[in-house]
Symmetry: C2
Subunit: 340 residues, 2 copies
Amino acid sequence: MITIKELAKIAGVSRGTIDRVVNRRGRVDKSVEARISGIIDKYGYKPNKVARALVNQKKLYVIGAISASVNNVFFRDVVEGVRRAEAEMKEFGVSLRYREVAKFSVPDQLACIDEMLEEGIDALAINPINDEAIRSRLKEVDRRNIPVITFNSDIEGTDRLAYIGCDYRKTGRIAAGLVAVSCREKANIAVVIGSMKSLGHHLRMQGFCDEIKKYSGLKVERVVEMYDDESTSFEKVRELLAEAGEVDAFFFAAGGKEGGLRAIRESREGNWPRIVTVDIDPFTTSCLREGLVFATVCQQPFVQGYEPVKQLAHCLLYGEKPEKAVQYTQAEIVIRQSIS
Amino acid sequence: MITIKELAKIAGVSRGTIDRVVNRRGRVDKSVEARISGIIDKYGYKPNKVARALVNQKKLYVIGAISASVNNVFFRDVVEGVRRAEAEMKEFGVSLRYREVAKFSVPDQLACIDEMLEEGIDALAINPINDEAIRSRLKEVDRRNIPVITFNSDIEGTDRLAYIGCDYRKTGRIAAGLVAVSCREKANIAVVIGSMKSLGHHLRMQGFCDEIKKYSGLKVERVVEMYDDESTSFEKVRELLAEAGEVDAFFFAAGGKEGGLRAIRESREGNWPRIVTVDIDPFTTSCLREGLVFATVCQQPFVQGYEPVKQLAHCLLYGEKPEKAVQYTQAEIVIRQSIS
DNA sequence: TTGAAAGCGTTACCAC
DNA sequence: GTGGTAACGCTTTCAA
């Protein structure tokens, strides 16, 4: 590994000049710059990360993190991941500014971004609402040379360094596979979803339906929206059960499944339909334990909190950009025996 | 974060002396040592990892890695993990010496350890055979102050820093859960295992049987050993099918499942029993695709290669010991929809 | 047993 | 534009 010092001797210039070229700081003569660039390539010089980190420790970096969620049990694990990354990076002079905003409020999220910008952040991890105003604000963030990583849900048309989160369509397909395994012959299936307008939910449902079609005998008979609301979920599922009484399997494709699950539990004791959900929380865990839910497909919420912060820190500290722009978290199948 | 320099000033000694105390290098007056230890605690001094790494880069560390396996498909992913860690740590002056030895040959493994010891290694990652001779040799390794991490299988009675690998019993339990989901009412189950004498296989079977017992109607009727040999596997499974013809589900609890699966595929076209396996390889993947195998429980082979090397490197570079002595890899359920 | 000083590879700053 | 030098926090070496 060649060092900046050796390179300087070879090029017959000072380390300062090499440094300016390597880090594109400007104030270097065009011709000199070209010559040095050549030498850098020739010798394959790569700045030493450790030495770089040592000097950079003096700086105090602030990473902003914004979750679009309040009181969502899913985000507890995300926060844990964020905190873990924070703890690990603390000794390298990286600190964190974490904030949660209401799930679907564009103005809130906008205000939050502005606030952070004002307070001063060096990088941003955000679970963005896929909205025009947010998009243009994130472009502004990028213009200020603040690196951005999105997590949990993505937003098109910005220069975010990476998206780290669920492959929604795949989650749906896997859920379908699980339902299929548990229903040998024929089955009527109901899908309970948050909102058709949510891109993630929509993709999940598509993946699910596409896959179910491959099994003759299986049919998605009903799709119910419950707007992430427990009581709506409860009511709609109860209606569904009363109506025909012929639902053999359920797929709960979003949060807010508690209401619906309670409705099922109450309605037909002992003779439950086959149920697959997404994500896990204490309630789902108890449902797995008692056998009401037989599988749930999770999306590594911890990783969704941990990785964005970690990768942004590495970006600030060592100038390392994420290798992959789209990093899907694993679609983890959890059954009763997986827990504890 | 207080530095060694400041501490030296406070204690009224030189940095050298602090360094000697912190790193237990000896040659420090007893009373001085006690006093300085007190100050270190009081100010909560922790050596700066980055600075430490910077100086230590001059050193060239060698990590030895030994897998007990030749031509095993499973270990391809392990090797990938090892290589990845190697690549990442290379720039920090860590190099790797990787070797594979025949699966059950104690003399081979012993010879391999000795060889490495002679060539000179600074740390050892090993997939040990659980044997008395190996155990005592690993104790010798420890006596030489060479940190050891075991992976894939553990060995009792040594001072290995950590074990990183599968929770065999849990894998068995999860497999049982999957079989149970797919067999609604009654079912006769056959378990195909490598060898009862292998601790891992044994635990897996126990976990499986314990869990199956919880489902009335399900019964483990037969357990077959095939000694990790494809043709034995083929023959024994064929016999089994011919014999009674009443096996509703199979659990292949070890590698060498290819023979057995072929036997099933040939025997009853279209009307296959429910099959769960462990681990994944191209053959298993194709079985998942065609629907012969409906689920396989994997154990993150990549992680089993990556983490030991990475953690040993951190140990050498920063003096960081693994936080947990037993690090189970995730028991990952894979179905057709999980792949590609 | 202890201290002083050099050095690791980088960045930042101040002259020129 | 460019060069020289100090500094980051630690380990190592040599001298006392």
